[in-house]
């Protein structure tokens, strides 16, 4: 449960990361989130759609409509602003993770003579 909440807190970045490899429709985005998180992503999947809409209104993703099997399908892709945002988020996350890791990992024992 804690993991799911932590993932939810980073949902925007995770969505941008999933779209980095190319445009996907909503269900494909959800599948990628689930697979790439090793099944830990267990938010109600219907709530991912409004998050994608919010990213679109922020100019970070763009969407196009098509018709598949008689159904309307919306496919999302990253905008240049979205790619820049993802780049920034990745760098920030790496710095943060390195800092926390260096604090949490036990320091090697000093050599004794």
């Amino acid at each position: 449960m804690k993991e799911a909440q932590a993932l939810k807190g980073h949902l925007d970045t995770l969505l941008l990361a999933v779209l980095d490899s190319g445009p996907r429709h909503g269900y494909a985005v959800i599948e990628a989130l689930r697979e790439d998180s090793g099944g830990r992503f267990d938010l109600p999947t219907g709530t991912v759609y409004p998050a994608l809409h919010r990213l679109e209104h922020a100019g970070l993703v763009t969407s196009t409509w098509s018709v598949v099997d008689g159904r309307r399908r919306r496919t999302y892709g990253l905008t240049p602003a979205g790619q820049a945002q993802l780049h920034t988020e990745r760098a920030t996350w790496r710095d943060f993770a390195a800092t926390i890791t260096s604090l949490l990992e036990p320091a090697p024992c000093p050599a004794t003579s």
């Binding site: 429709h25 909503g26 269900y27 959800i30 109600p44 999947t45 219907g46 709530t47 759609y49 409004p50 998050a51 809409h53 919010r54 209104h57 598949v68 159904r71 309307r72 399908r73 919306r74």
Partner: protein
């Protein structure tokens, strides 16, 4: 539509609360989820139940869409900036002795009533949590009312003020900025 009674009923409940585009998108995702479970050897009823459980309740979906809707964000922005614009006009009106301006009493009354209605509409939109369409209608009504208020006060200031002083100019700039924001935002909310 997937043609499954449970899923059709679920989408019908969402239909009254979400825009058509959002509903089409959810129907597509739900159909894919249903097919995924159906392919994993579940019978249609079980597959539909699993797909709906995975998707979330109608309330969860409607709330997620409403909370993140552009209309709700715009309403909060207009409410947050309202006191600053109001203070600018209050300063300009007090320093300009606006009570001597030739504005008819009924017009002042209509202005005051419209202001109350606009604040109520924007507050309704800003507080909306689970009814997307109602939130959108409230912010559109509030935004249009705000355009009328800003327009009225600008025209009154230009026509009735004996001279243009800097507080009046500052208040006019604040109103023009808000008019610009509202005119840009309302079409996006209508199309959302």
């Amino acid at each position: 539509m997937p043609g499954n009674q449970l899923i059709d009923a679920y989408l019908a409940r969402l239909a009254g609360r979400l825009p058509a585009d959002a509903l089409d998108e959810l129907a597509d995702g739900l159909t894919e989820t249903y097919r995924h479970h159906l392919a994993n050897a579940a019978d249609p009823r079980t597959a539909a139940r699993r797909a709906l459980r995975e998707f979330g309740s109608v309330e969860e979906i409607a709330t997620a869409f409403t909370i993140q809707s552009p209309g709700r964000r715009a309403a909060r922005m207009l409410l947050a900036t309202g006191p600053a614009v109001g203070a600018a006009w209050a300063t300009a009106l007090v320093l300009g002795h606006a009570w001597h301006w030739p504005v008819p009493g009924p017009a002042r009354l209509v202005f005051g009533l419209l202001l109350l209605l606009v604040v109520a509409a924007l507050a309704t939109a800003a507080a909306g949590r689970s009814h997307y369409a109602r939130t959108r209608a409230a912010v559109i009504a509030g935004g249009v009312g705000l355009l009328a208020l800003d327009g009225a006060v600008l025209v009154s200031g230009v026509l009735a003020a004996p001279a243009v002083a800097w507080p009046l100019a500052a208040a006019a700039c604040a109103s023009l900025a808000r008019i610009g924001f509202t005119l840009r935002t309302i079409p996006r909310i209508i199309s959302s």
